[in-house]
Symmetry: C2
Subunit: 426 residues, 2 copies
């Protein structure tokens, strides 16, 4: 590993740690002032930002990136305005820091308070979306954390321009300029160095594809909060209301098929399948969803009048995150089989049961081991905004610290503050 890279990244982390100690006791109003200044600077610096973005786009075109990736990379005046508005929205949220989560007095008279505090220094590792630099910076800042950002090489010039604006907003409002730092290289060696600085950096959040997340998880000695795949199931129970089942499946599968809380897998109770499956399948087909089905479902669809197009599922389809207009369908004999199937084949992200039977719903919600389990509601509700968090840094597929939507509260830890009057331990 090049010594200068190690020194560079270590120095960034040391300055982030120092900044985090200042931020941890910075009043809300001062953090908000920095955010509001940033919101002003973004449209005011549009030309600089768009010029930097054009450099990235020129390189991306030269590297023949596919058009949907080019679109993702592209900044426009409208996107910048949207970004500035999201900064103002985060500034308007309640500061999570300082809330007393619990408070109790022990028989010896000591008063213990469990108080929400920032985590400290958070490393965000991400790929090619230009909004992530701003999104992550503002959520970390609002929650009193210092951020070290390491974005993808495809968006390096844009990220650098955004980082300069953030530094300017911090400096102009009297906050430590090192509260948000971009690693000024996309060299893998720099990332590897960062992932080992476990005395300076307290949490790593990788945002991006599975291979990036896996690389980070395998190489980090710092705790990582992962945002993996969503192989989300909908189970239409024997007692499902057909209209509810249809509406939820259309929404969960087709509203935005490329996201992690979209449904990928459908299980239908054998007792309901002969009537329910043809109706649902026809609706999904009308939305261009390709159905990959097990033999029992195939028989029902073939018998339907008119017969409904489908293909035979492979084993791999039953655990697939398609992120596309494709849905795997299986018939299950009962609720318990649905639960066992989900606990074996899902990614533990979001699952839904459609039923009018409360006992079945409760059993499903209790026994399904996933971050979010809905009853008669779309899987798409596993989302920080839909939860009312007002912001979201991601949807955790881990179980420790944060599970499901991660908002400002989940960017905090806690500490215990004890008041005594000379108590000692007996």
């Amino acid at each position: 590993m090049p010594a200068d890279l190690v020194q560079l990244v270590t120095s960034i982390a040391q300055r982030a740690r120092a900044a985090s100690l200042v931020l941890a006791t910075t009043p809300s109003a001062r953090k908000d002032a920095a955010l509001l200044r940033l919101a002003e600077l973004i449209p005011a610096s549009a030309e600089t930002l768009l010029a930097a973005n054009q450099k990235d786009l020129a390189e991306a075109r030269a590297n023949q990136l596919p058009s949907h990736q080019l679109d993702r990379l592209t900044l426009t005046h409208a996107r910048l305005d949207h970004l500035a508005e999201s900064v103002r929205q985060v500034a308007a949220l309640t500061d999570p820091v300082g809330t007393v989560l619990e408070e109790w007095t022990r028989p010896n008279g000591i008063l213990i308070r469990k108080r929400r505090v920032p985590i400290g220094v958070i490393g965000i590792i991400y790929e090619a979306r230009p909004n992530v630099t701003i999104d992550c910076a503002i959520l970390c800042l609002k929650s009193g954390n210092a951020a070290i950002l390491r974005g993808g090489k495809e968006i390096f010039h844009t990220n650098t321009a955004f980082a300069a604006l953030i530094t300017q907003a911090l400096a102009e409002t009297g906050l430590p300029a090192e509260a948000v730092q971009l690693i000024p290289t996309t060299d893998r060696a720099a990332l590897n160095t960062l992932l080992k600085l476990d005395t300076l950096v307290h949490c790593i959040i990788p945002r991006g594809g599975e291979s990036l997340i896996r690389f980070v998880a395998q190489n980090s000695t710092i705790p990582v909060i992962k945002h993996y795949t969503g192989v989300c199931f909908v189970y239409a129970d024997q007692d499902a209301d057909p209209a509810i089942a249809e509406a939820i499946l259309i929404n969960a599968k087709t509203q935005r098929p490329g996201v992690c809380n979209a449904a990928e897998q459908l299980l239908i109770h054998a007792g309901a399948a002969p009537t329910l499956l043809p109706r649902i399948a026809a609706s999904l087909l009308a939305k261009d969803v390709q159905l990959r089905v097990d033999p029992a479902a195939a028989a029902i669809l073939a018998d339907a009048s008119p017969a409904i197009a489908h293909t035979a599922a492979t084993e791999a389809d039953y655990t697939a995150e398609f992120l596309d207009l494709i849905m795997a369908v299986r018939i299950v004999p009962d609720l318990e089989t649905a639960i066992a199937t989900i606990n074996r084949d899902s990614s533990g992200h979001t699952e839904a049961i459609i039923t009018q039977n409360e006992a079945s719903a409760r059993r499903f919600q209790d026994a399904v081991d996933s971050a979010v389990v809905t009853w008669n509601a779309s899987t798409r509700f596993n989302d920080g905004f839909e939860f009312g968090f007002g912001a979201e840094i991601g949807i955790s597929t881990d179980r420790l610290h944060a599970r499901g939507p991660m908002g400002l509260n989940e960017l905090c830890t806690y500490k215990y503050v004890i008041d005594g009057s000379g108590q000692v331990r007996a």
Copy 2:
């Protein structure tokens, strides 16, 4: 890596995962019945347990283990009775599982409940204390988690005998026998295999020396909750009450010097030092504490009448976890220097301020970045029992998920359960 070891450990983890799904919805009464049966079995099986322990002790003597380690390994009837009593105590605690932590309704009518649930499968990696097998097994069981235990080779026969009892208690009370499993080998390759099974095991808790913890943290792709060192500071402020300062320092330093929440470092405000330091130092000396001091403190102690014995501190002393009757002492010019010194040199475990000035205390509690920050109370209170948790699996020095004492609540995560009536996302 030997293929049969990989298969063995993977099979253990798969069975643990299956057991964890059963445990997650097992009513409290049934978990408690298993615990109470175990409490009966321990004294009833004393001869078997002591015989297994004798095998370990014989090997330990043959390997010339030092006497304090032999003492740690040794089981007695009294220790077994104490262990059985601790099992009954855990059975009597409130079940953490199922508590609704938060509950709210969104404008679209969906009801969101955040509910406490077990983490799932927890791997406990520990060294040579025979009580850890029982302690960890019962805390995991009570909190609905399946446990995979991997103890040290010095205590292998004893652990095996305990594990057999736990299996018996589970089986006799109708719980999955695989809810608690001991890895039947201390081969490092088996541990390495376990640490990579991140789809089956959800959390690793290493309990033991720093090198064990570091090995686990560096080799695990499963989230690890670490219990590292405690370089705990006491800061005697300008406005310290001398009697309180003296009592807390004696307690924090000498009551049990070998534990992580014992004080190692003393900072004294320069304004208070000329009167406070000689008094505290004399008291500590009377308890056989060796003082390693900075030049300013040395001058004060040399001037005291009678002069108080001390040695000059080295730089290394200022960040040392002595775990012994040794204390490093420094004079600081003010509160802010005390805070900055602590945030640089402490391990973030537990720090105390002694002062009669509330503003100073609040500033210290706000700005010191440690898991537990006390005001006029001993550092020794960072402890699950002292907090009233009724049990403790350790004291986390991490910031994510659990910080400070880890009791039953901290052995749980949460999931979100959503009730709807057909809502879809707009």
